[in-house]
């Protein structure tokens, strides 16, 4: 049977991290998460990893595989060459807990700041599929935080103090663009969410496993609303008047 060579990051915030090499037998159709489970089950029961669904639905198993931010349950082993060393590291933007597990609590804190959906009191709850296609796209997000991981504002500039990150622009767009929502999160997005720091590099969109058009459909649309809000108040007002109807 073919064997794969995995170099897996092991470590905690106090011990210096190191890569440990494991040899894992490869079965047809195997994914990286299967290989990690093999290590846990037969070689090293202590190896820490998060996972739940094994079907790219829960967003738990994010890691950097040969440097690419990926869902391990979706990354096939047969894409690597025979004998190639496969490096598996935790996502870098968030503080390490142990091995492949990181502290992603930042994201949960940001989420709390987004004002909830607020429908009009007299809403009829009748709306067309085409009016919600876009919102449904945003709501596909599985919170894998891979977009947060690659965004340079968080990863390289460490602006967690002033920037919510692409995931939460998507989330905000999902409520802002709901046909029955009457809220206005635009000033908040600009002033606290740091929407202006985004310079549309689209790295987030490239890694999104749900293929959400984060930059084009969420971020740019929100930026346009910011422009209206601050420079074309009439347009902003009209949009709000016709929302929720």
């Amino acid at each position: 049977m073919r064997e794969a060579i995995l170099k897996v990051f092991r470590g905690t915030p106090v011990e210096a991290g190191k890569f440990i090499t494991y040899k894992v037998p490869v079965e047809e159709g195997m994914v990286v998460l299967d290989a990690i489970h093999y290590i846990q089950g037969y070689l090293d029961p202590e190896l820490s990893v998060r996972w739940n669904c094994k079907a790219a639905k829960c967003g738990s198993c994010s890691a950097e595989v040969n440097g690419d931010p990926s869902l391990m349950c979706k990354t096939r082993m047969d894409q690597f060459a025979e004998g190639e060393e496969i490096t598996i590291e935790p996502i870098k933007t968030f503080p390490l807990i142990k091995d492949l597990v990181t502290d992603v609590s930042f994201n949960y804190e940001v989420n709390k700041q987004i004002p909830p959906f607020c429908p009009a009191d007299d809403a009829t709850w009748i709306f067309k599929q085409e009016d919600i296609d876009r919102v449904q796209e945003f709501r596909k997000c599985i919170e894998c935080f891979l977009c947060q991981d690659v965004c340079h504002v968080l990863r390289d500039h460490e602006r967690k103090d002033a920037f919510w990150g692409p995931r939460f622009f998507v989330r905000s767009a999902g409520v802002e663009m709901h046909p029955l929502d009457c809220g206005n999160r635009i000033p908040l997005l600009e002033e606290q969410g740091g929407l202006g720091f985004c310079n549309i590099t689209k790295c987030c969109t490239e890694v999104c496993p749900e293929e959400i058009h984060i930059t084009d459909n969420a971020i740019i649309a929100l930026k346009e609303r910011v422009v209206d809000e601050y420079h074309d108040p009439l347009a902003a007002l009209l949009r709000r008047v016709f929302k929720g109807k």
């Binding site: 905690t12 079965e27 047809e28 159709g29 195997m30 994914v31 299967d34 846990q40 089950g41 037969y42 029961p45 202590e46 190896l47 820490s48 990893v49 998060r50 996972w51 739940n52 669904c53 094994k54 079907a55 790219a56 639905k57 829960c58 967003g59 738990s60 979706k74 096939r76 807990i97 142990k98 091995d99 597990v101 992603v104 949960y108 989420n111 709390k112 909830p116 959906f117 429908p119 709850w125 009748i126 709306f127 067309k128 599929q129 919600i132 919102v135 449904q136 709501r139 596909k140 599985i142 919170e143 409520v175 709901h178």
Partner: protein, 606 residues
């Protein structure tokens, strides 16, 4: 003396899936303080994986639908073993709970006139499943999560509860550890709601995640509650069978709801041969009638044609597939074919996007061009903690249970879509029940140090031992036993032998050991989970041995017939002097006005 931190709340909710979140939201809305704990991160519970939809008689698509029909379908699907009151509340309240989700921001797929769209599912007479493509659970959990965030509920993530604490007969809180660093924690609470989900990890082929180790079932059992209907384990008929790494992964029933056809290796639509006499009249007689039904679904039009036999109940389809494969009529990888490739490919991608992706990414199969290979996979626990229908209270004062961990609602077989609705109907009721109970408790409850020390020692044990069995090895042995001895088809001697092996595993568990520290150590976590898995497995096996008939998901080779006498009781498991005790307890009698619903003239199918 154990080191631990203490938190105090009125209500502690264990589990943050649909049931736990809905319970926490309700309890907190009643004005009591609420903590919510979960083993994974928030939003990753099993509920997130639910695909096909949530059942509620909104009658947006089929106007003839109403709660009475939903009630009858649920009871018929459950082979009359359901707790009638739960089935009634569920059918009556699920429409309002779904509308509530919509008001909280859930965005369901729409009908052409702008209402919530509903699709067909197995065992449901009318099109009843509200859905968002094939990611309905994600929509539900996010909606509840975002609602909960703004309600002041304290959330403790990656925290595993290992023991319920009591003051005399009453619940007084719970003990657990944080996965991140292994530190211990005591939650003092006047009421505890269990919403921990199911127990599929004890089986070798399952759609369930690592979390499903039957914790709530075991915690309740150890605290003195009783578990009912544990012999009823749902094998979902369509799990992936290939490649090996994804074996068991779910293929939503939504595929069949959208027109997916089941065929054996001879190309035969074998389900026509497996319809039980009692429900045959509800299904298409031949391929032509079945095609008319699918065509009408595609057009969103009405039809007199009856639904395809592929939409029979899960117990029945799972058995049929198992038998076809056993008779040599299976696919190369030991399943049968599920085919939706004859439909327009854009429609398939729109209605079943995650199935399309799943097969493309993981199996190199394009479901718009090729059939899928599918076979049964352990999916859902019908059995669980016995509760009062109206309040979700167990027999232990202060202990409540809702969602998959509770028993009674689904009887001998659950209909697809009836779980998500169960979660929000009974999650809400459990939250209200617990809040009301907690508000009525004046005294401060006392928890003895002995209980806490015992809980801590149990966790320390595997770390201090050397050279014992590996927890992963033990888990593999347990899965093998359950797969071989307590699978889809059961038999006296095979079950008895399985129980004997479970007894051996119980002994082996005492020697289990693990290396390393308490820092995020999954092997250490599994050592404790195994105990719960074994308790559940034993309860399943013993109940299965005691029910000497075939009913719903419980199929006995030595008792192939359904015995009307055995509809009169539920098998209940509880602990007596440290040993598992089994009783046959009378099933509550359905009142006459509900019984009448089953006599009503059947309407034509649309």
């Amino acid at each position: 003396m154990a080191n631990y931190e203490i938190h105090e709340y009125d209500v502690l909710v264990v589990g943050a899936g649909g049931a736990g979140l809905r319970a926490a939201i309700e309890a907190s809305a009643q004005g009591v303080s609420v903590a919510l704990v979960c083993k994974s991160l928030l939003g990753k519970a099993h509920t997130v994986m639910a695909e096909g939809g949530i059942a509620a008689a909104l009658s947006n698509v089929d106007q003839q639908d109403n709660w009475e029909t939903h009630f009858c379908d649920t009871i018929s699907g459950g082979k009359h073993l359901n707790n009638w009151r739960m089935a009634q509340l569920h059918a009556q309240e699920s429409p309002e709970r779904v509308r509530e989700l919509e008001r909280w921001g859930a965005v369901f797929d729409r009908t052409s006139d702008g209402q919530i769209l509903q699709r067909a599912f197995g065992g449901h007479k009318w099109k009843r499943l509200c859905h968002v493509g094939d990611r309905t659970g994600l929509e539900m959990i996010r909606t509840l999560q975002d609602r909960g965030v703004h309600q002041g509920i304290s959330v403790y993530m990656e925290c595993t509860i290992t023991r319920l604490l009591k003051d005399g007969e009453k619940i007084a809180g719970a003990f657990g550890y944080f996965r991140q660093d292994g530190r211990y924690v005591v939650f003092k609470a006047k009421a505890v709601v269990l919403a921990t989900g199911g127990a599929g990890r004890s089986y070798p082929v399952t759609s369930n995640s690592w979390e499903y180790t039957g914790d709530g079932h075991a915690l309740a059992y150890e605290a003195g509650a009783d578990l009912i209907d544990m012999e009823f384990v749902q094998f979902h008929p369509t799990g992936m069978v290939w490649p090996p790494g994804v074996r068991g992964l779910l293929v939503t029933e939504g595929v069949r709801g959208e027109g997916g056809l089941l065929r054996n290796n001879a190309g035969e639509r074998f389900m026509f041969r497996y319809l039980p006499e009692s429900t045959r009249k509800d299904y298409a007689e031949n391929e032509e009638e079945s095609k008319r039904w699918v065509d009408a679904v595609l057009k969103g039009a009405k039809t007199e044609a009856r639904r395809p036999p592929e939409l029979s109940t899960r117990d029945n389809v799972a058995r049929a597939i198992y038998l076809e494969v056993k008779e040599g009529k299976g696919t190369p990888h030991g399943g049968v074919f599920l085919d939706i490739s004859y439909l327009n490919s854009e429609r398939v991608k729109k209605k079943l996007p995650s199935m399309y992706q799943q097969f493309k990414d993981l199996a190199d199969v394009d479901i718009t061009k090729q059939p899928m290979e599918v076979g049964p996979t352990m999916h859902y626990m019908m059995g669980g903690v016995r509760v009062d229908a109206d309040t979700a209270a167990t027999r232990v004062p202060g202990l409540f249970a809702a969602g998959e961990v509770s028993g009674g609602m689904h009887g001998a077989n659950r209909l697809g879509g009836n779980s998500l609705s169960d979660l929000i109907v009974f999650g809400r009721r459990a939250g209200a029940g617990a809040a009301e109970y907690a508000a009525g408790q004046e005294d401060r409850l006392q928890v003895s140090e002995d209980q806490i020390n015992a809980a801590a020692e149990e966790l320390e044990a595997p770390l201090t031992k050397k050279g014992g069995s590996s927890p992963y090895e033990l888990q593999r042995s347990l899965q093998e036993i359950m797969g071989e001895h307590v699978g889809i088809f059961r038999e006296d001697a095979v079950l008895a032998a399985g129980i004997a092996k479970l007894e051996e595993i119980k002994e082996e568990l005492k020697t289990v050991s693990i290396s390393g520290s308490k820092l995020y150590n999954p092997g250490w976590h599994l050592c404790r989970d195994l105990k719960n898995m074994i308790i559940c497995s034993e309860a399943i096996a013993r109940s299965a041995l005691a029910r000497t008939e075939s009913r719903g998901a419980h199929s006995r080779l030595d008792y192939p017939d359904t015995d009307p006498e055995q509809a009169k009781f539920n098998i209940a498991i509880s602990r007596l002097d440290g040993v598992m005790k089994l009783e046959k307890t009378p099933r509550p009698e359905m009142p006459a006005d509900l019984k009448k619903l089953f006599e009503k003239k059947e309407q034509t199918n649309a």
